[in-house]
């Protein structure tokens, strides 16, 4: 049984790169383009882990994480945020909101998988 990852990012390029990196190691990928869309996809299927960007239209990463953490259904679903190196403030805020961990952009596919393995079975 392979792992299912939900990727939430408004950049098509980023979604494609994530998909490439994850399917390469045999993961199954669900995609969403912002927080609102992410919640819709979640409603259809609970992934094993969520990878989300922060800056997105309609509902940003923080809002999304808060919504997910606020819903008993998804408690326990690990959430990794994509964040830029220099942004400690964002990282902390994400943690406050309930993010499980983070991945630095531009992301290294090996480290991406590492991070996922640390939080998801």
């Amino acid at each position: 049984m392979s792992m299912t990852v939900l990727t939430v990012d408004d950049s098509r390029t980023m979604r494609e790169m994530l998909r490439l990196a994850l399917t390469d190691v045999g993961y199954r990928v669900l995609q969403a383009e912002d927080g609102v869309h992410g919640l819709e996809v979640l409603a259809g299927e609970t992934p094993d882990v969520i990878v989300t960007d922060i800056n997105m239209p309609r509902m940003d990463g923080f809002g999304f994480i808060e919504e997910v953490r606020g819903d008993p259904q998804y408690r326990g679903v690990p959430i990794l945020v994509l964040t830029t190196e220099s942004d400690a403030e964002k990282k902390n805020r994400a943690r406050m909101a309930g993010a499980t961990g983070w991945i630095v952009k531009p992301f290294n596919p090996v480290k991406l998988v590492d991070a996922i393995r640390r939080v998801a079975a």
Binding site: S11, M59, G76, P78, S86, M96, T100, F107
Partner: protein, 727 residues
């Protein structure tokens, strides 16, 4: 295609979209938009470009984008006010960013001096001493092959002793969906690990708080391992747990053993559990997931900084702006084109069916006839809906214009403001793609020739800043696009004298003001020496007019001296369908585009006069207009048709020039599906395309302008082109 190369293309496509968002957002702000969502969108656009650029190691782009992003971040957090000057700088930065993106895509060198200069300006906008440098992108994708996670190479550590890791999660760790078990698993992957569970803090089941954390672990790992590798495993949970990493034999390690757990004592545990009826099974593996996290989750949020305000703002903004795009779906363009072809054939078939049924004599009110009427209705609706799929707002073409205006304004030294209206007006994709060049020429022309210099304007009491208006609207089934300026208008004397000089008109030809204005469309009106570099290197308005006509459109110009000029283009909504007047000529059925036809009339003998050798003219109210025998022009007949036996179609062609086409009879008006003649054959002079009528036969669509042009110079189309048969 290499998947990474495909994503790189996607990246550049996305960059174009982001650049468009960036520009329109900045323009909106220039126009007074203060919505926080607008500035956020602008920020995200640059942020997005920077992110992707980093992944592909496009260094100069990343650096510039970073500086740009920093300035925008200042603006979105309210520390930088969006004044007119600031916005102008940002717009120029957007232009530089766009150039860098394209240079990166093409592999061409970028204008470093320009980028550096603008970067300095952007830094000046930013916070003092802010780190405007971005860490180098060492981690580029090209460097990493996709390999499964391998165990970290252990650097032999001389200092020897085994690692002892003491790990006690706090409730928060679980609240963020971290799992101790997974961390322990990752530790095990680093090397041989011995894991000891300390369950001493675990209360009896009855007192167990599912949200609290009670368990702790001590893990022993080989000394050769690098400490950073171990710390990395706990990267995410740092702060949500007690973590001590030390070596065996270190005094520090010994001191850390506050809660030093004795080896897991199952009998002691069982003793505790005896009291409770249920057995509590504790394993080193999956820690019990605490149940309701809601409480744990909300507290951090409330404690957080001024987020609620921002979050509310974002929510409100999301509600204020209804999602205009709605759900969308990406479709292969080929499929859409195929669908449109099929629907076109459906329309033809339905028309044929109707015709056959009528010929078979079914009564108009019979079930069959009525059913067919409904079918026709339905078919039209399907056709309209399908055409709408390919319809796009002209915005995609309009949005290139602001930058063009900025550049031409800079080159001519004339301050110009571009006002656009009707960007949402929709036209078929096929038309939109061919609009860009003509629009570009017209706007350049408006600024270069239309607008006066700031001094002249001031002297005339006009504001120094000239205005160019670009509008689009639907009007009677067509799309009308106007490019107007508030400049000096057309200098009619000059235009007339140039035209006389070039031999385009007779010196004493009586021309109305409108006709003089439209002389600029005549081929040969502007030569290379006339046309400045800005208006396009020798390309005159006649080229523009021909492009518009090739689209089935018309273009005219109106002008008021001292006030300005306006180009008006009228285009069909789609290139696939035409409103036609079906006529008979010498037994042949032909179709004339209705847009060209001004009126139809039955010539009276007294109205028709001979002029010169074979030419005829017909009197239309106060003027004489050439009468063209279509049958002769196309070679269908050798002797001219008597005017009184036919019908004259008064047409308006090139910039107002009029002619009357003499045909045998008018059969009616139809919307016809355009079929290409060139696809399987060749271009035929006098014929624009073909269509299939209700009876299944092919009818030719007239190329009005060629017929008229030729009639001015020759007796028939034979003189223009000759098809030579070989062999």
């Amino acid at each position: 295609m290499d998947p990474l190369a495909a994503i790189r293309e996607t990246f550049f496509q996305e960059c174009e979209e982001q650049l468009a968002e960036l520009e329109s957002g900045l323009l909106a702000m220039e126009g007074g938009d203060t919505d926080s969502e607008t500035i956020n969108a602008v920020f995200r656009a640059v942020h997005s470009i920077k992110g992707g650029a980093g992944a592909f190691s496009l260094e100069p782009l990343v650096r510039f984008a970073h500086v740009f992003e920093t300035a925008l971040d200042e603006m979105r957090s309210g520390r930088l006010a969006p004044s007119a000057d600031v916005l102008k700088t940002l717009l120029r930065a957007a232009d530089v960013l766009a150039d860098q993106v394209r240079a990166a895509h093409d592999g061409a060198p970028e204008d470093e001096a320009r980028s550096a200069a603008l970067a300095e300006e952007l830094k000046a906008l930013g916070p003092e001493g802010a780190s405007a440098e971005v860490a180098g992108t060492e981690e580029a994708w090209g460097d990493f092959a996709f390999q499964p996670l391998t165990a970290v190479e252990a650097a032999p550590d001389a200092a020897g002793g085994a690692w002892r890791v003491r790990f006690k999660p706090r409730a928060d760790l679980y609240a963020k969906a971290n799992e101790a078990a997974l961390l322990l698993r990752e530790l095990r992957r680093l090397g041989d690990a011995v894991v000891e569970l300390d369950a001493s803090a675990l209360p009896p089941l009855a007192d167990l708080d599912p949200e609290a954390a009670y368990l702790a672990w001590t893990v022993t790992l080989p000394g050769e391992l690098d400490e950073t590798a171990i710390r990395e495993v706990f990267e995410f949970v740092d702060g949500d747990c007690e973590l001590e990493i030390g070596r065996d034999g270190d005094t520090a390690a010994a001191d850390d053993a506050d809660d030093a757990a004795p080896a897991f004592d199952i009998s002691a545990l069982l003793a505790k559990v005896q009291a409770a009826p249920e057995t509590l099974v504790v394993e080193p593996a999956p820690a019990p997931r605490p149940a309701p996290l809601a409480k744990a989750a909300t507290t951090p949020v409330d404690a957080a900084q001024p987020n609620p305000a921002a979050a509310n703002d974002a929510q409100a903004a999301a509600q204020r702006k209804p999602d205009t795009a709605g759900a969308t779906i990406r479709v292969d363009l080929e499929r859409v084109d195929r669908l449109i072809d099929l629907v076109g054939e459906l329309v033809i078939n339905q028309a044929m069916l109707s015709q056959r049924v009528m010929e078979a004599g079914f009564a108009r009110a019979s079930g069959v006839a009525m059913g067919l009427d409904e079918l026709e209705q339905l078919t039209r609706e399907i056709q309209d809906s399908v055409m709408a799929i390919r319809a796009q707002p002209v915005k995609s073409v309009f949005q290139r214009m602001p930058r063009l205006v900025r550049e031409v304004a800079a080159m001519t030294g004339k301050p110009v403001r571009l006002v656009t209206e009707g960007e949402g007006t929709e036209v078929d994709k096929t038309v939109i793609e061919r609009l860009a060049d003509p629009l570009t020429h017209m706007i350049r022309n408006a600024i270069d020739h239309g607008l006066e210099s700031p001094e002249t304007r001031a002297a005339a009491g006009k504001p120094a800043e000239g205005v160019v208006r670009l509008t689009a609207a639907h009007r009677s089934g067509r799309i009308v696009i106007e490019v107007g300026d508030d400049g000096g208008g057309i200098n009619r004397e000059r235009v007339k004298s140039i035209a006389v000089e070039r031999g385009l008109i007779a010196a004493d030809a009586p021309l109305s003001d409108e006709e003089i204005d439209n002389l600029i469309f005549m081929p040969g009106f502007s030569t290379a020496s006339e046309v400045s570099d800005i208006s396009g290197r020798g390309v005159g308005m006649d080229v523009v007019r021909r492009s518009i006509q090739a689209l089935g459109g018309r273009i005219t110009i109106t002008s008021r001296p001292g006030k300005g000029s306006t180009f008006t283009m009228s285009l069909p909504l789609t290139l696939a369908v035409l409103d036609g007047m079906v006529v008979s000529v010498q037994g042949q059925t032909l179709v004339a585009p209705i847009t060209a036809i001004v009126e139809t009339l039955l010539p009276k003998a007294s109205d028709v006069h001979s002029l010169g050798g074979h030419a005829r003219v017909i009197a239309i109210r106060d003027s004489y207009v050439p009468l063209i025998d279509v049958g002769m022009a196309l070679g269908y007949r050798a002797e001219p048709l008597a005017a009184t036996q036919g019908v004259a179609l008064l047409i308006e062609g090139e910039g107002g020039a009029r002619a009357a086409l003499l045909v045998d009879a008018i059969q009616g008006q139809r919307q016809v599906v355009i079929k290409s003649l060139e696809a399987n054959y060749r271009q035929v002079p006098g014929v624009a395309a073909a269509t299939i009528l209700g009876d299944g036969r092919v009818a030719l669509i007239l190329d009005i302008d060629t017929i008229v042009a030729v009639s001015r110079g020759a007796d028939s189309l034979r003189a223009e082109k000759r098809l030579a048969a070989t062999g």
